[in-house]
Symmetry: C2
Subunit: 422 residues, 2 copies
């Protein structure tokens, strides 16, 4: 770095998780120890905040608030799904990012997000190099989908995994009690392209009677015939059926299964518009198996469920944030922090580094050997992989009113220095 | 009682809750102290198990399992929604109940359920009197809907209230972070006729910025025009909207609001079949307000969420179970245990008694003064009423695998003595 002290910026991107604030906390607490870092600014609502020069000064937040981020779900700095215009087509967006960085003497960019964010960070970094603007870009992995390449798993996943497995267990007990009336329950979880979240619910099935009895992931080709036959088999054996399904179900060609695919579905749906995958399965089950089915859709609640988050996940998320700052101080650039699992039976996890570009271009799906031959549940190998990630209960603060206390940042605005862009 | 010792039966009915097992635990632990009670039997799957003579002997369960019921959601004995044939039309079902009771020398009937169950218990009791069969019937209140008459509130409600309020808070934080993309979130909760569950989410709104911003209950007449205007107002003020809605929305005539009611809805829906109320609201919001909306439907997970249940609720549920046995020992009959709130600012709750008939015929909705004038949120009076019920976090056991440990009863069958009935 040219100067002794330069400013840093932290931004959060994409779908929030229970622990992305913990990663930010790791950045802030580690940055506070670094003499080379002056002020730490935050982008309000991710890269959108950078484009809008909507920044706030994290240095003015109380230490207790920063510490409270470890126990606060979602993205306290604000996030976005804003996609920058392509670097090839037009430099405008990326130029603007560097203009804003330069205006505030920002030389460190810590970006917590998924593969799109790593792509952005990489491109910003490359453009900075072209312009001769000294900048260090370090990515921090974040996604409940757990589908990032180059890392053993992603911060955010352990918590959603623990929560959805618990939900499968609890709603499963409900079905156990009321199966003479509500014989089948479907739990719809997130995961349009990768089945990691659905897979995690498989951990709840400690015995064959336990829910879930069937788990469908996008990685295993779905057919309506097989599905109906699966449900009939479980119903015959147990007199009840508990199913978990990810948002995305795909056929053998990788196409999303929709209402007009397959004979059962065609018959059942007619011209009906559906509420979602779970609703689609319900209609087919009631028509073809002849048992009453109902469904739950956890939606955004699953990725925000701090009240029963994984302590392992919270700690690793913090570790990734702190590691990002340490790496930057050591002169590392254009990398994402990864989680590296030690070999052997005892779970141990440290951090590593991956090229931003490799993460941006990659995707990690549930491997076939984590899914059983039938394509309707997880294997022991999968249990061994996911199991350690959900261990430990993250502490939260509960108020006198019986509800969690989550912090809010003050978000003291940084004075704008540039003309309005968007 | 004619004899020094007679048997008791316990049954659970209707939709499970997080704490109905705690009530059963109260019955069993109190009954164990009573010299007048011999064996305690359980009906497998509620009154259906009685009709089928599908009983099991609770005396053979381990004490640790019984104690574990306090920390186990749903109905461990099994529940049902089986409706007995009317007493006026045909005695058959009720005669069968008494035949099964007589065959097993059952003289105490403890029935945990809602108003239908209290109706059943009352009718069984009256028929027993006609037949000269000595029987004591005591009801134990249970319902997440909190709509039972004669009791201040219902065991089961405090836990669902704590959980849905937490869910509103957490999904609300998700919306806070991603409002530039997903501007509106709808949380659909249970409650087709009574808005108590939706009302509880109002507790999460500690400040005007906090979710939920709008809460719709069946007790406040719903119109599409007003709804769209509400959403527009919140969006204008905060740039985001978090809505909670019960399953049931009713117009001023008490009719359920459907897709073809009201001009906005008519335009928006065409011939579309809907996934539920939340989906219906989403379609109207996107069309009329022009902001993206998404929704979560907690379904059965809300009534089974032992992992963040109210300690107050768990204790009161246990207290109701124990009080049922104590009352029976004192010669009380044909009554349901009620929860009685002491007057004054400090919350204190004891048990009382109500006629089974009065509970069977009653229903308790959210009073108008608990809903604001706009009909879109709760009042301070409502907060004061619900607030104490969600206090305290019920302890659960979490296994080494990071997931809750919930008990299962062994359910050792009692030998059948009668011919098959159904």
């Amino acid at each position: 770095m040219a100067k002794a002290k330069a400013n840093a910026i932290v931004a959060q991107s994409g779908g929030p998780t229970a622990v992305i604030n913990s990663s930010v906390c790791g950045v802030l607490q580690e940055a506070a120890k670094c003499k080379k870092i002056g002020r730490v600014l935050a982008a309000h609502n991710g890269i959108l905040g950078v484009l809008q020069e909507d920044l706030f000064d994290v240095s003015t937040e109380k230490a207790s608030t920063i510490e409270g981020l470890k126990r606060t779900p979602s993205a306290a700095m604000g996030s976005c799904r804003h996609k920058l215009k392509s670097l090839d087509q037009a430099h405008a967006d990326f130029d603007r990012v560097l203009d804003v960085f330069a205006a505030h003497d920002i030389r460190y960019f810590f970006y917590a997000g998924g593969n799109d964010s790593m792509d952005t960070a990489d491109k910003v970094n490359k453009l900075a190099a072209q312009r001769g603007y000294e900048l260090v870009c370090i990515g921090i992995p974040k996604t409940v989908d757990n589908d990032l390449a180059c890392t053993d798993h992603c911060p955010g996943y352990g918590s959603v995994a623990k929560y959805v497995a618990t939900c499968a267990m609890e709603a499963g007990r409900d079905t156990d009690a009321l199966y003479t009336h509500d014989t089948c329950t479907i739990l719809e979880v997130m995961g349009r392209n990768a089945g990691w979240i659905a897979a995690a619910t498989g951990l709840a099935a400690r015995t064959p009677e336990d829910a879930p009895h069937l788990v469908y992931m996008p990685e295993a080709a779905f057919t309506w015939d097989k599905f109906v036959s699966d449900v009939r088999e479980v119903y015959k054996r147990l007199g009840k059926v508990f199913i978990v399904v990810g948002e995305g179900l795909k056929d053998k060609d990788g196409k999303y299964v929709t209402a007009d695919s397959g004979s059962f579905a065609k018959d059942a749906f007619g011209h009906v518009q559906l509420g979602g995958v779970a609703d689609m399965l319900k209609v087919v089950i009631e028509k073809e198996v002849g048992i009453k089915a109902r469904w739950n859709k956890l939606g955004t609640n699953q990725r925000a469920a701090m009240h029963f988050a994984s302590l392992t996940d919270v700690k690793e998320a913090w570790m990734c944030g702190a590691a990002a700052v340490k790496a930057a101080m050591k002169g590392v650039n254009d990398k994402m922090i990864t989680l590296v699992r030690a070999k052997g039976d005892k779970y141990k996890c440290t951090t590593g580094l991956a090229e931003l570009r490799d993460v941006a271009n990659g995707e990690k799906k549930v491997p076939r050997d984590y899914i059983n031959k039938q394509g309707n549940h997880i294997t022991e190998a999968c249990r061994r992989h996911i199991g350690p990630l959900i261990k430990g209960e993250a502490p939260i603060t509960v108020g006198k009113d019986g509800l969690p206390v989550y912090v809010r940042l003050r978000r003291k605005p940084v004075e704008q220095k540039l003309a309005k862009y968007i």
